[in-house]
């Protein structure tokens, strides 16, 4: 696998780089989409033509320099072209999370004063139409998928093809217009506004310039040796900075091809078909994949199960060492090689991970089992740490220095320092310009000399790696002074296969407690094998045997905590299992699936009170929002259990 020509291009803005790429390698595949069962692709030359036509069309419709254009939908080539088209005309694309509910979309539309919106399909069009009256600046809607749009006759609604057609005519009439507009762009111009979902309060619009994005992407390509022949599946939300950097900026600068999956249902199939070389997923996706593998192995024949268990043990012993080039005895090497043929190779192939050169994960801590599973199979899974405000990269783990507990060394040109209170700060060329229309928040986050407060507490270890402990403001203390880091506990809980999500409480209290979401797949499978029958999620979550299962897991965690004198006191004493999964639509998780602890503590206040009493059960009644936006109420009785024996307040003692 050669690296290809790796032609370097030198523009400052995305549109300049796109035009250069189109001239340098007109016939290489730029982007693909699986549609009607086959992969359809466009070359750089074709992409440039589409972007040019759409841009001229938008301009003819009235798009002016500085105008904001919303982009709403799944990863589709036309939406990426729309972004580039808007940028080429000096406008600013504002992508929105495709599963955002109408209210959330409405907020972005009015806060960013959006003038035009490019929408994927009927569903998104309906969503925007339902809140259109809140955004008087919104002038035009453009949809890229005509299915179902037959009867929509509003004058402000246009099809993508129509705009492209108008654009072609406009371009033909004024051939220098497009190039002229592109030339007006500068590296310091605003390139995009990305609204962070945020764990508290309303989302904030992070403003990134072309310099932020291009310099960061160039640096990342260089330090990670990203080449022209990479294959990437564009499946992460376009509104997330990661997709923008990986699938848009880095792709353009390195010249590799990006592929859009057919639909969210076909993701695993498309991943397998494509065999990407470069992949990112949050830790829970890697965990879910591992759970699926383990669960499906339970159903396999005895021979296969034996092979899997035996060779995964071999991998556990030597796999990571082989991956990292460390010495391994010959006998083990031979066994590993056999394992490759029989187990690891086929397994990686089924998951679509055969060709992976690097798999990144970030956003949360990853469990030791999960981490070692992939690395022992020879998959170069490593961690990075970043934020939208940093144009992604703050730290990256180098290939030969991958560790479980850290998030890596500083990214190229990035400086890191730890404040007195333990908070991590950084400064880099990727640091954002500010929050749109929110100077107060900008001043709180970014200092005058360009250092950004991450809000995370961390330490730098002896190898120069950063280690994140918890959100700085969440690190608290129990009533007796013991350190209480809720995220740390939640991560340990979530690493139990039975638990999908957990929220820990304890700051200022006598002891730590937890609310649990069980993993329906893993626990359901376990229940079937135990001969436990259940009708649905609520029923299973309520079962005494499931409570015992979870209690057992918590006992193990507490034993582990007892080994560290700083944390021993924060053992979890009581817990309950929630009747429904925490959900972003109900505001309990962010769109990137992080728990919103404050919101949950408030909404389930009665549950928290009950956890700190002697009650053995509590009734919960909460409003929920269904996937189509309708509201409903759910009521349930939840059992509360002590982990072991009656609970006594910890006697007052000095923290160790």
């Amino acid at each position: 696998m050669s690296g290809g020509q790796n032609i370097a291009i030198s523009g400052d803005t995305i549109p300049e780089l796109l035009i250069e790429r189109g001239k340098a390698q007109p016939h290489r595949s730029a982007i693909r989409e699986k549609d009607f069962g086959i992969w359809q692709s466009w070359t750089w030359e074709q992409v440039c033509a589409e972007v040019r036509a759409f841009a001229c069309g938008l301009s003819e419709m009235g798009l002016a320099r500085g105008d904001k254009v919303a982009i709403l939908g799944d990863n589709r080539p036309r939406l990426y072209w729309a972004m580039a088209a808007v940028q080429s005309m000096g406008g600013v694309p504002v992508p929105v999370y495709q599963d955002a509910i109408a209210d959330e979309v409405s907020y972005v539309l009015s806060h960013a004063e959006i003038r035009f919106a490019v929408l994927e399909n009927q569903e998104q069009v309906d969503k925007v139409l339902s809140v259109r009256e809140n955004s008087p600046a919104l002038e035009g809607l453009i949809y890229t998928d005509p299915r179902g749009m037959r009867n929509y006759k509003m004058p402000f609604l246009h099809g993508f093809e129509d705009v492209v057609e108008r654009g072609r005519k406009h371009d033909a009439a004024q051939a220098n217009f497009f190039d002229g507009e592109v030339a007006k762009g500068k590296g310091s111009d605003l390139a995009i506004i990305l609204y962070t979902s945020g764990t508290t309060g309303r989302p904030k619009g992070v403003m990134l310039s072309y310099d932020n994005i291009v310099i960061t992407a160039r640096n990342a390509n260089r330090v990670e040796n990203v080449r022209e022949d990479e294959e990437v599946l564009a499946y992460l939300p376009m509104a997330w900075v990661g997709d923008h950097i990986f699938s848009y900026a880095q792709a353009l600068i390195a010249g590799f091809t990006v592929s859009c999956p057919e639909s969210s249902d076909t993701l695993m199939l498309d991943l397998r078909e494509l065999g990407p070389t470069f992949f990112f997923a949050p830790p829970r996706v890697f965990e879910n994949i591992l759970t699926t593998v383990v669960v499906r192995m339970e159903d396999a024949s005895a021979l296969k199960r034996w092979m899997f268990t035996y060779f995964m043990e071999v991998a556990r012993r030597s796999g990571t060492n082989i991956l990292e080039g460390k010495p391994v005895p010959l006998g083990d090497r031979l066994l590993y090689a056999m394992g490759k043929v029989l187990v690891y190779g086929p397994l990686r192939n089924t998951l679509g991970f055969t060709r992976l050169r690097r798999a990144y994960t970030a956003g949360e801590a990853i469990g030791p089992e999960t981490f070692n599973f992939y690395r022992s199979l020879g998959i170069n899974l490593k961690q990075l740490y970043g934020q939208t405000e940093a144009s992604v990269y703050v730290t990256i783990q180098p290939d030969n220095e991958v560790k479980l507990e850290t998030v890596g060394k500083a990214a190229p040109d990035c400086e890191i320092k730890i404040a007195d209170n333990g908070e991590v700060l950084y400064r880099s060329p990727g640091v954002f310009l500010g929050y749109y229309q929110n100077d107060d928040a900008t001043a709180e986050t970014k200092t005058a000399d360009g250092w950004v407060h991450t809000g995370d507490a961390g330490v730098i270890d002896e190898d120069g790696h950063l280690k994140i402990i918890d959100r700085a403001k969440d690190v608290g203390r129990l009533a007796n002074g013991t350190l209480f880091a809720p995220k740390y506990l939640e991560n340990k809980l979530k690493f139990l296969p039975a638990i999908r999500e957990a929220v820990a409480f304890g700051d200022g209290s006598d002891y730590a407690t937890a609310m649990i979401n069980i993993d329906i797949d893993a626990v359901g499978n376990w229940a079937e094998r135990q001969g436990i029958s259940y009708t649905n999620y609520i029923d299973l979550a309520d079962h005494d045997k499931v409570y015992e299962l979870v209690a057992g897991g918590i006992r193990d965690i507490n034993a582990n905590l007892a080994k560290d004198p700083n944390l021993a006191g924060s053992a979890i004493r009581r817990f309950l299992i929630l009747h429904k999964e925490l959900d972003a639509d109900d505001g309990e998780l962010t769109r990137t699936r992080k728990v919103r602890r404050g919101f949950i503590a408030e909404r389930y206040g009665t549950l928290v009170d009950a956890l700190y009493s002697n009650a053995t059960s509590v009734t919960v009644e909460a409003a929920v929002v269904f996937e189509d936006g309708r509201k409903g109420k759910v009521k349930a009785d939840l059992k509360i259990r002590n982990v072991d024996g009656p609970v006594v307040a910890e006697p007052l003692r000095k923290a160790g």
């Binding site: 069009v125 139409l129 009867n151 006759k153 076909t266």
Partner: protein, 275 residues
Amino acid sequence: MTEISTAENTQPEARQLGGVLLKVDDISVSFGEVRALIGVSFDIREREILSIIGPNGAGKTTMLNLLNGVYSPDSGTIVFKGETRQRMRPHESASLGIARTFQNVALFRGMSTLDNIMTGRNLKMSHNIFTQGLYWGPARRQEIEQRAFVEQIIDFLEIEAIRRVPVGRLPYGLQKRVELGRALAAEPTLLLLDEPMAGMNTEEKEDMCRFIFDLNEEFGTTVALIEHDMGVVMDISDRVVVLDYGRKIADGSPDEVRASQAVIDAYLGVSHDET
């Protein structure tokens, strides 16, 4: 069940129904001593969605089998697209443009979704067993054309993810959707659906209703369906025909039928004299 329409977003177009597509005239069918249908008459107009309802044993599936050509009437006639027929065989009805689904899902369980829907293109393919067996030249081109058409249906029914899955492994709701796909593959003028919502939860029913609306609107297909879920029937039908013990006891708009005393009696139960 909630309203499916997005009426606030679309211009409400008056339902453009055409002339009479199919007319059933004084049909009677008996199986030995059992009189399944007695003197039933009704018609179906082009682009209409007609529901056939009635208590169990009323003769609904028998009526559908009749329209399909599986049974022949003992007396009475069927007029389809202007042509009067007394007897019709299933393959004749298929080539005339009538397609159907079955109450208990009659898919080829070992074949994939894609292959099952491809079988629906059977009558559109013109090559014989030899040219198809060799898979060469014209046969190959035709296969590609048919595959392209079937992919449109797969896209329409949103079943891309299960293209290659053997249908026997699919959940019941998805199997029914695949069967609908196979019926649509035949590009029918009249689509007969036998209890398409049976065994589905609310979300699946809403999806199925949306597909029925869409195919009626996009392809102009006339739909006759047997259904028990009154919510569905009232929401999506242009007209409702009610059968009871082999006789038609009501025929009109959903509102008219809902208010009809005869219908209420039939469902709630009133002592009948043997006739």
